[in-house]
Symmetry: C2
Subunit: 219 residues, 2 copies
């Protein structure tokens, strides 16, 4: 059975899925979707995801979209392979589930918009909007303040083990650490220690080698 | 063990958790949090949820926030009670997980903002912004078009059984069906049939009796 990932390698949600596959030591086939040509908004891609968003994923006759649903499937369907990434105990799983919701509804909202302003816009020769950046940084600070308190009592967000929720953060943190917003992480002792741990995992090093390195980032 | 729900009864995420408890036929204690007095932004509530959002939930020594993490915990921890709400097969679970992400990232974003304009603002004697409403309705239409296609091939979003993802939609659909935006649901044959099924469940009738009925809705 060949696992397929459809996407492109500068998309944080696509990298989230690839990072999960690397952690689980699973082989996969990467199918490039040309986002600049808007191939994700056309057939045949719309048959994989009617919303036209990346990534899409297949495992035999199963087709999935939404990166966090894909990673959860991989973790449960391939439980015996690679890193564990999710606990079995229902209460521990509930804590993980809660922090995954926080990532999706709090962290990602601010971090994605900052990534757009500080990474994507410069790549497209567009100018970042300082007022937008300030607003999103303010929102991110609120989240990182909660993370700092949380990381005082546990090594990772869902407990003392690296899990899916830490992995879900990795791509956007990787990009933001190359921008001026990295200061927000570095100002917080426990947050920056966590960032170092998640960015230096061997699975992430393998993902990093796949990311085009010609990203323009303002100094 | 007493399950506790902390919140107030006009909050869709709070009602999502209560709907799940009613489906699972579980008793719980409701603890009112005065949102107008901003008690959710103060201690002791911040000890339950450092983000100050409703609901919070406790089951003995387990404290959770984020409504969708709470419902998933209830479904798994109390699998033998009431309606099933989630399949056991990993592929079927992945399909459910995917549609739950769609609800959270596509449906909820548009529907919550419409609810704010068309239900919450009138309740607070504020005027709805027609331009905002038009924008959010446009976003909602895109989601409902995908749902209409999906509901042609399955009775509910994740398959032929009512599951958590249908339940997650119920509170906001209940409120929106009392506004002019109900036309968007009614124009779509399969969507409106699904809406009727989820709003007439016996568990939801019990929830509905708890909702203050003095909601001002523009005709």
């Amino acid at each position: 059975m060949v696992l397929e990932v459809h996407g492109y390698l500068l998309s944080p949600p696509v990298l989230r899925v690839i990072a999960c596959l690397k952690e689980k030591e699973l082989d996969y086939q990467f199918i490039f979707v040309d986002r600049q040509a808007e191939d994700n908004k056309k057939e045949p891609f719309l048959r994989l995801n009617p919303f036209g968003q990346l990534p899409a994923f297949t495992d035999g006759d199963l087709t999935l979209f939404e990166s966090r649903a894909i990673t959860q499937y991989i973790v449960h369907a391939y439980a015996d392979s690679g890193s564990q990434l999710a606990p079995e105990d229902p209460k521990a799983m509930a804590i993980l589930s809660m922090w995954m919701e926080v990532e999706a509804h709090q962290f990602d909202v601010a971090a994605s918009k900052l990534n757009y302003e500080l990474v994507i816009k410069p790549m497209r020769n567009m100018t970042s909007d300082d007022k937008e950046v300030a607003g999103h940084e303010k929102a991110l600070v609120k989240v990182l303040d909660v993370y700092e308190e949380r990381l005082k009592v546990s090594q990772y967000l869902a407990g003392d083990d690296f899990t899916l929720v830490d992995l879900h953060h990795t791509p956007l943190i990787y990009f933001l650490m190359r921008t001026k917003s990295k200061a927000l992480f570095e100002e917080r002792t426990h947050v920056v220690a966590w960032v170092r741990k998640i960015l230096t995992r061997s699975a992430w090093s393998k993902v990093q080698q796949l990311i085009p390195q010609n990203i323009v980032v303002p100094s």
